[in-house]
């Protein structure tokens, strides 16, 4: 380990070239095609004829140093000391010798990391901090992810599905998990207006608090002599922006917090353009440790899609083809007032034609 003495800053990350295996250095930018060999296993063939085998293993994303070191050991054992993580937090082992693949997979299984998630399989759930580290959470992240993937794991490591299906979770409306463009999104929500704490004016600038509310539901007032704020509850849509600027307006509430389920978003440009997720289920309760209602709802939506979608069709493309009324019918989800947009651009989501499946 280096032991410089003067204080270094702004050196940036280590250069990626130091991290690349020889086969990649040699064929960098000269890959010809790839093939999926087995669940979680693919090969990339270079113009030179060289082959790079990738084995993708599931990860809980939250990893202790012990497990990371175990990954490092596997990389040494099978991959000349090279590995990478994916944009969905899986871990990928990079081999040049395909005869080692099965052994690697066996070792990974032994460690508790199923292999899969490549091609038309359901991959890892992009998620966030939840109760593990964030003050803003309306639900936990890791727990729901574990429960849902336990239930869907067969789609990760065995079964094929019609196309890619991306699930994401964010524990509050800040949407760090960028759930706003996922095939299925699980979103932590508050449903009770902030509870105004005494001495608010000591902790927060009242004008900032008032300004923070997009619906102008917060007004200044005085509570027994003290300047404070009052909230017109009908005007609150639970964005928590006021809480972000003022800790004295907590929104977390065991009785009313929960999750909503969203569907049909995507980011790739393949076939259809990138699009946002749309509301499917307005509210499900927080039921730790395994959130059975959420698990059940996600599986239901997944199965409707698996049954009905054409090859390569993403969730949103499938729903577009059969129409939203039919999606609600097939999933048994009841269409309600909450589904109708009433935000800024609401009018543009109304059905402005007579093109209806009757």
């Amino acid at each position: 380990m280096a032991t410089a003495t003067e204080r270094k800053t702004d050196i940036g990350p280590p250069h990626y070239e130091k991290m690349l295996p020889p086969v990649i250095k040699k064929n960098y930018g000269k890959w010809k095609y790839h093939e999926i060999l087995n669940p979680g296993v693919m090969v990339h063939v270079a113009e030179s004829g060289d082959k790079l085998f990738t084995v993708r293993a599931a990860s809980p994303r939250l990893l202790g140093v012990k497990r990371i070191r175990e990954f490092a050991d596997l990389a040494d054992k099978y991959c000349g000391g090279h590995l990478r993580f994916t944009s969905r937090n899986n871990v990928e082992f990079l081999l040049t010798d395909d005869s080692k693949i099965d052994a690697l997979i066996a070792d990974l299984r032994a460690l508790g990391h199923p292999v899969g998630g490549i091609g038309n399989q359901i991959s890892n759930i992009v998620h966030t901090q939840g109760w593990i580290h964030c003050h803003s959470a309306a639900t936990d992240a890791s727990g729901i992810v574990k429960a849902v993937m336990d239930d869907l794991h067969e789609y990760f490591s065995e079964k094929e599905v019609p196309g890619k299906l991306r699930i994401a979770l964010a524990c509050c409306l800040n949407m760090c998990g960028a759930v706003h463009c996922s095939d299925i999104a699980i979103l932590g929500i508050h449903r009770r207006p902030p509870k105004i704490q005494g001495g608010l004016n000591k902790v927060c600038e009242i004008p900032n608090v008032v300004a923070s509310c997009p619906t102008a539901a917060i007004r200044p007032t005085t509570v027994d002599g003290e300047p404070s704020v009052e909230i017109e509850e009908e005007g609150c849509m639970f964005c928590a922006n006021c809480f972000s600027v003022c800790p004295a307006l907590p929104m977390a509430d065991p009785l009313n917090d929960g999750v909503s389920i969203w569907v049909g978003g995507k980011v790739s440009n393949a076939r259809s353009e990138p699009t946002f997720s749309k509301l499917a289920i307005p509210y499900l309760p927080n039921t730790p440790p395994r959130w059975p209602e959420v698990v059940e709802s996600v599986r239901n939506i997944v199965e409707v899609w698996v049954k009905g979608a054409r090859k390569f069709e993403r969730m949103g493309e499938f729903i577009e083809r059969i129409g939203w009324p039919r999606f609600f019918k097939l999933t048994g989800i009841e269409f309600a007032k909450e589904h109708i947009d009433d935000f800024k651009f609401a009018g543009l989501t109304y059905k402005r034609s007579a093109q209806l499946r009757q």
Binding site: V65, R69, A72, R84, W131, G143, N269, P288
Partner: protein
């Protein structure tokens, strides 16, 4: 099963069973020799019982000279959980595309075992290595060891956030430019903007090598750089037929899915009207051995994606339809700096670039950053007649224009 957390955690214990790898097992493992992890486990169990989180707003903590890279965090029951009274996370800038040598990983582990909880996120949603939980006093020592070992912090707060990219040319045959190189280059070029928050709000850059956008840049980056090409898709007709024989229904599964229906299959030959191809990637995705992107490659640069808080979510929109991306990327860097200048001057506090564009109007925004408007920037021209015509004639000087 064994309760290695020190406190009873009957609820969390239930999350150790099942086929998917368990985060609880990870924390318990760490709890064996770290008191803060014992407390974390116990606090989390409490949250599971009460259905509510126990973390408070983070204060401003960090390392000397940096404004970002650390997220301060304190719990609201410090007496009961003293070992995580403060439990800050460091965001460590990952190498491009998350490639590691086993040694690099071990180095991180060693440092973090010495100075923190030993728990991480590999990786955070923005892409950083998240070192999950330590005390204020440990921040500076951790930072020193990181920099001594070639690592540095990523972004947080109102600064440029850690740029990230897809695996690109390192392993993907479809990369239309060098995503790893540009990501590293921009990160190094803008170290000051990354470490010292001076913007109205956060600014994220994500680089995807092709329109498949494997880093979800169009949804999650203020600047989304998406590879593309402007010549013909390369076709190997034999491989197309092979794909067909291998069972792919080319008409149904490929042609019918083409957004512009510009690809035709007569059972023998595949023909593409490249002029109407919108480079969606689908046909190439469906037949990786038969089709490849064209040879004249570059990228489309889009601007303005963000999450919903508070004016509604945005996807990035086209700023530069096509640009060649070769080091040192001067043209792109100039644009970025012009954008930052205008945003810095006119952006409101906590206003993302995408929101600013809409507030001042894309047309005015383009004028300000000296980019010509082109039809590729819009899905379609305006539908409303409310044009701000900027000049009119005065009676006196007929023919002359005035502001």
């Amino acid at each position: 099963m064994a309760d290695s957390g020190g406190n009873g955690t009957p609820l969390l214990d239930q999350l150790e069973s099942g086929p998917w790898p368990s985060f609880v097992t990870q924390i318990k493992e760490a709890a064996k020799d770290k008191d803060e992890c014992k407390d974390l486990l116990a606090l989390l169990e409490r949250s599971y019982e009460e259905k509510i989180g126990h973390w408070k707003h983070g204060g401003i903590v960090g390392v000397m000279g940096y404004g970002g890279g650390v997220i301060g965090r304190y719990n609201d029951l410090p007496e009961e959980f003293p070992n995580i009274a403060h439990f800050h996370t460091l965001r460590v800038n990952m190498p491009s595309a998350w490639f590691y040598t086993s040694d690099a990983l071990r180095t991180i582990c060693d440092i973090w075992e010495r100075h923190g909880s030993g728990l991480t996120n590999m990786h955070g949603s923005t892409g950083d290595i998240i070192l999950l939980g330590t005390e204020t006093d440990e921040l500076e020592p951790t930072f020193k060891e990181l920099t001594d070992n070639d690592f540095d912090l990523g972004g947080s707060g109102s600064d440029m956030r850690t740029p990230s990219c897809c695996v690109g040319p390192a392993r993907c045959e479809w990369a239309c430019y060098d995503t790893l190189n540009i990501t590293n280059d921009l990160t190094q070029a803008f170290q000051d903007e990354l470490h010292r928050p001076a913007f109205p709000y956060k600014f994220k850059i994500k680089c995807a090598g092709c329109p498949n956008d494997c880093v979800a840049s169009v949804a999650r980056a203020d600047m989304s750089i998406i590879g593309t090409w402007r010549d013909e898709i390369q076709i190997d007709q034999d491989e197309v037929r092979a794909a067909g024989e291998a069972g792919l229904d080319i008409q149904k599964d490929v042609c019918m899915h083409c957004p512009t229906k510009c690809i035709e299959w007569d059972g023998k030959t595949l023909t593409i009207d490249d002029e109407n191809c919108v480079k969606c990637m689908h046909c190439i995705n469906a037949m990786p051995k038969a089709l490849r992107p064209g040879k004249d490659r570059g990228a489309t640069v889009l601007l303005g994606a963000k999450a919903p808080i508070v004016e509604g979510a945005l996807l990035s929109s086209v700023l530069i339809p096509f640009i060649k991306l070769e080091p040192p990327y001067e043209e792109l860097k100039d644009v970025i700096e012009r954008i930052w200048d205008f945003w810095g001057e006119h952006g409101k506090n906590r206003e993302r670039v995408g929101e600013l564009m809409q507030r001042v109007g894309l047309g005015n925004f383009l004028e300000a950053i000296e980019v010509e408007p082109v039809a590729e920037m819009v899905a379609h021209p305006r539908e409303n007649p409310y044009v701000f015509y900027e000049e009119y004639y005065e009676e006196e000087e007929e023919g002359e224009e005035t502001e």
